[in-house]
Amino acid sequence: MPKLTIALSGLNNIDSPGPGIPVIRGIRDSKILDARIIGLAYENLEPGAYMHDLVDKTYKVPYPSDGVEPLLERLKYIHEKEQIDVLIPNFDSELFTFMKSEKTLREIGITTFLPTLNQFEERHKSNLPEYGKKYEVNVPYSEPISSVQDFLQHKEKFEFPVVVKGKFYDAYMAYDLDQLGMYFNKIASKWGLPIVIQEFVKGTEVNVVALGDGNGNTIGAVPMRKTYITDKGKAWGGITLEDPSMLDLTDKIISQTHWRGGMELELIRTAKNELYLIEINPRLPAWVYLAVAAGQNLPEALVRLALGEEVKPFQGYASGKMFIRYSFDMITDLDEFEKLSTKGEL
């Protein structure tokens, strides 16, 4: 296979990491792909930009909230210099912009492998009850609200504690109305409205990373339980599980929705052994390298699907494979920071 140029975002390998670096590690591990990696960074201090063993070149890009046009202009500039073959956006908050721009990107020669707008929209946290009904999946009761007053209208449908969730990120447990109001303001100021109030389902949080081919087939899926959770709710450690019911649920969702691209299912297993779907993240998660280590190189498969190749579903994975995240003080020089912050390239 000729050398590919793959551009991707999510280089913020921090305490609440983006999936960029783990996705790159999967691509670097591939025995099929030979790739030049172009990092797309929103901030000057995204660690991935300075990890030259993983990222060949990094370009600053404008935030999607600045509008589609500035982002596309910047991508066209990068494409002229780098001839990007495949683009992998790794943030929930930028996916909408990239999905809207899919055709434009394709016309200039950049391929992506993203969910459709319909798939993306219907799995939104605020639409989860309808999603559960439509696809016959257990979901906790939830209501999107635009103010605390809104919540008061639905108050009788909830029992404290409830989970207060942002539309893209962040989730907090609120044990009373005061806490709910506090978290509402905290999340709304960061991620905007609506805020989703979700019934709290007691149990063990388990997750699945999966890849759908867009035709209803599950190319790969690996279940995991977080063994160490940070105060931001992120996995600092995890272990792969051998759980047929989680895989059945994943197959059911992918086959019914014809999911296209990477996804992460966030599930709760109750004491009665029932699985509740609490969230679908429309991209590969930051722990995807665990799946690679367990035998399913999902980033590699995603790139191959983007290139239009036929990819056969993975058969099995190793259960009991663990990851332990760690922090590391990477040393760099001021001129590196200077290049990225002044020229927007490193």
Binding site: T204, V206, M224, R225, T227, I239, T240, L241, E242, D243, S319, G320
Partner: protein, 85 residues
Amino acid sequence: MPKIRKNIAISESGFVFDPLSGESYSLNPLGLEIIHLIKNGQSYEDLSEVLLAKYEVDQETFDRYFYDFVATLKQFNLLEVETDA
């Protein structure tokens, strides 16, 4: 006799891994010995006879500790679920 779930992994050192829940546990040497006897399909009478001969313990005390141990295994979902015939 209770049965240990088939996919439970038990190492020689007594480390137990449940791949369904992702939980792991440590057995002491006696716990490991009992688990092996259970896994080998020993009846309670045979198992009891082996351990009473090997350790200084009376039948009543052994019964009590054995059923405590089995209750713990059950609590951690390490046993096959018994179904009514």
